[in-house]
Subunit: 563 residues, 2 copies
């Protein structure tokens, strides 16, 4: 390999000319979608609109250089923008110079964490969140964003830190609805919704948001809506590329940003990887979770260095990129160059754009993410999963995005502990005239009066060692005459140190009461490990290959048993 080959991404070295026009088209279409969305999400993040465009240039190039998904489009997205606002609002007034620096610092820390996790190959941490928790988190935060956009959409004033108090404040201030703001806002909303109706429709519809925004801009400028009617507009934006700089840490916000940066990194990774995987599935490609961590980390660091804020893989945007025919990350490079042209030469034209139009863009973007049917589906299938979904969504709405994600992680882990601490255990009997042993409650079986055979349908680990111990003792206590206790381990792939201690203690106690504890049907790797422990020496009973062999021995003779 030459130095050039090592320095350039693989897709670029293998680039085939015939893909260029499709990549070019997709890149431009995504940029047309990104212009209004990036400004809107900057406002959600508490930043001036142009910072959204700043965060849509270098990060796209960084992801094109390091990412493994051919079609994922990165940039500012709704949830991480909301999390950015929630992390920074306690530290500085939104939109202030100190706030803007802190936003870049947040992207730097979060990106650094993603890079570090990628280098340490911690891609599996994404498993800390189950699908219902991710679904609850997405629905909850989308609803939170939606509620936050009602006031700017209708030109109303609303106060309140929580979703509930914002809603109450909106109802109380109903009379403050500002017609000249609400009219273009609601008009944009209706047009954008109409553009969505023909499902699977042509590409032209994808640039409707851009066209609607330009239309609203012209109307607002011609009618001087801001000056004559007091409609809130984006305001003066000085054209020019974002400044390249290392975010200052002199404000001492570093420590306060560590926890939010971690939660943003987690949400960012979990949502981006699921976007990347579902796109890869459709193209029969593969994404590498650890490489994705590094690429997302690099993209966030790039955002930080160009005055941006935390960015992520966007679902709707990636679908548009894919549908527009993007074949390689060159589409992302084209999007970045298009954004740079807009920011460098045309940013000033957005001065008269009503903020209500951007609010309408956000409302249309986040509404499909509020997925009530996911709850209904989960409820029908598994109440515990449905509760985790609802708990996470309510946590996000009532306590905020960070508390919501913490609740989600806690609920996921609690469900794992709960499930593995409630193992299924069956009392076994022999199916007559066979060598098969089945649950006595489900099958007609034969048992021996002095033998108790239990099949444990779960790995034996610390979380269920006590439950297994208690169940064995209960079953023994319910039966007189038990002398032989057989644990059938056909479903057990692991016995950890805690469970081993439990088995040894159970064995000591049972043998003190004149009973023997035996094991059967141990899998090869489990048996190899047990031979490293004190169990073979200490155990009062035997280790049988099969349940059948154990019963033959317990029965005394084959003849007696087969009667």
């Amino acid at each position: 390999m030459t130095w050039l080959e090592l320095a350039l991404p693989a897709w670029l070295l293998r680039y085939r000319k015939e893909n260029f026009f499709q990549d070019l088209l997709a890149g431009v279409v995504v940029a047309m979608m990104l212009v209004p969305q990036s400004m809107a999400y900057a406002i959600v993040a508490g930043l001036p609109a142009q910072y959204g465009m700043y965060a849509s240039i270098l990060p796209l190039l960084a992801y094109a250089a390091f990412g493994t998904s051919m079609t994922m489009a990165v940039g500012p997205v709704a949830v991480t923008s909301l999390m950015t606002a929630s992390a920074l609002t306690p530290l500085a007034p939104p939109g202030s110079a100190s706030y803007i620096v802190a936003a870049s610092l947040l992207a730097l820390i979060s990106g650094g964490m993603l890079l570090a996790c990628g280098v340490l190959r911690l891609g599996f941490v994404a498993k800390l969140l189950s699908n219902p928790v991710i679904s609850g988190f997405t629905s909850g935060s989308s609803l939170l964003i939606l509620i936050g956009q009602i006031a700017p959409l209708l030109g109303m004033s609303a106060s309140g830190g929580s979703a509930a108090s914002t809603l109450v404040s909106l109802l109380e201030n109903g009379s403050t609805l500002h017609g000249p703001t609400a009219l273009p806002g609601l008009g944009t909303l209706v047009l954008l919704l109409l553009a969505r109706l023909p499902s699977g429709a042509g590409l032209l519809l994808k640039i409707v948001p851009m066209l609607v925004m330009l239309g609203a801009l012209v109307v607002s400028a011609v009618l001087h809506l801001h000056e004559s009617s007091g409609v809130a507009v984006v305001g003066a934006i000085s054209a020019g590329l974002p400044p390249l700089q290392w975010p200052s840490m002199s404000d001492g916000h570093f420590r306060a940003l560590l926890f939010p940066a971690g939660t943003i990194a987690l949400v960012n990774f979990v949502s981006s990887i699921s976007v990347a995987q579902s796109l890869a599935l459709a193209r029969k490609e593969k994404v590498n979770a650890d490489a994705e961590l590094r690429a997302l980390g690099a993209a966030n660091v790039a955002s930080a260095l160009s005055a941006g804020f935390p960015i992520s893989g966007g679902f709707a945007r990636s679908l548009v990129n894919f549908a527009a025919g993007a074949k390689t990350p060159l589409a992302g490079v084209i999007s970045a160059l298009t954004m740079a042209l807009v920011v460098g030469f045309a940013a000033g034209i957005f001065r008269d754009l009503p903020v209500a139009v951007l609010a309408a863009t956000i409302v249309v973007a986040v509404t499909p993410a509020i997925d009530v049917r996911a709850f209904m589906r989960a409820w029908r299938y598994d109440r515990a999963d449905a509760s985790a979904l609802a708990g996470t969504a309510l946590g996000v709405i009532a306590l905020g995005v960070e508390a919501g994600i913490a609740i989600g992680v806690a609920l996921s882990l609690a469900s794992l502990v709960w499930r593995s601490s409630h193992p299924h255990i069956a009392v076994l009997g022999r199916v007559p005239f066979t060598e098969h042993f089945r649950n006595v409650l489900r099958y007609k079986t034969e048992t021996l009066p002095h033998v108790l055979a239990l099949r444990i349908d779960e790995n034996l680990v610390f979380a269920n060692a006590q439950a297994v111990d208690e169940r064995v003792r209960e079953e023994v206590a319910q039966r007189a005459d038990i002398r032989e206790i057989l644990l059938v381990l056909s479903s057990v792939s692991q016995i950890d140190a805690t469970a081993l201690d439990m088995l040894l203690e159970l064995n000591r106690d049972l043998s003190g009461r004149g009973m023997r504890l035996h094991l059967a049907e141990i899998k090869g790797p489990v048996l190899d490990r047990l031979h490293q422990s004190a169990l073979p020496q200490e155990f009062s009973g035997k280790i049988f290959l099969s349940t059948h062999q154990a019963f033959l021995e317990f029965a005394g003779s084959v003849e007696d048993y087969s009667i």
Copy 2:
């Protein structure tokens, strides 16, 4: 039931006269052990010595009223005393009035949490800690206590927040060793160690600590060691029962104490329940985890109301109680009354007791808890468990007890996530001339060229859904001509919503590529739940009762297959 019967504990209503003398003897012996230990642990907790005795009266009565263990002895113990000091030192100077109030408040909050968990039946949270983590925590904190007692034992001065800096400071200050302090300290140490040597020896040996303490007290008083040689002594203690009061919250420490109170409650419960369970085992009785939570909670609240600090079930003390013949919690009542007599009438006599003697008591009590062999045993059996043990111990020593317990919980949960995210999956083939299907790597089997059969040896949950998905795709990619994919779920007791989504997506993708996905050997409860989901309608393949039936169908005809 009469009101009296409802109000009194069950053991008291059923009390048999012939147990009285044994309970009386055990209660007095435990009190003789508790007098020096409780003063020593109060000093570990950063409190004046008499507060240890205060914490050894009402809590014992509360536990006798609500506990389910017949023989567990509660009171101040080493680890929770150390955790108390670590929680309070940042808030107030040790021994100050504000510190003493905060200690009671800590007991109140921690006790309230235990009570709440008991009422909510959260006894299963004890499973957040695996045996290796508990062992590492116990060894680490015992070593930490031991290091902290070197300076008072030898009359040296040592500074330093961490174990390492304390050791460095001890080495640097070697010349400050104070002979008149070290002599009675080391003398006590040797006597106490000698008393331990005859293992399983008589009860008289159990009151050796009390006798040694009284001997040292007399020597110190007669020789005026404090006045003449500057030996540190316990100092004036005003005799009298502890004041009954509700701990003041006016210092605003409530929030700062929440996290430490939670970790103390967890450690308290986990260690107490293991003491109670091992004692119950020996007596063939049963303890109820949720009732124990409530009893420990009540005992800690009682400690808080009588100027005490967090208390717990003590292992050594409970063994002594058991060995001394205690039959019922009346022994605990006797211990409490004995302690009340000592505190009420004789507390003043401890004025001249050298602190070094109490330090020797602590060193002898905690040394057996430093269990290096547990690490060796875990290392031989399971490297992951051994690493969790070592990580927790090092965390406690390097970062402190609270960080250590947090690391332990995190390591336990990480091991659970790790284990369930790495499921064992076997490719199956038929054992020739049978209906049995086994791992093709371990057995000589027959397979069909267009069929891939995989047995998944783990519950299908969010933590492993992705791993299973990836493994199926890899196995399919390695084989040409695969048209039928069969998942054998004989070891699967649960399929959560995340895994269900995975199966549906995998099915969609595989059927898009002309393959069918089938399931076999689904357990009854799992199948019942699947029928509530979209799977039966959406699935491209069938649900077979057995792997054999599936192979019969895939083979086209019975004849072809059995060749």
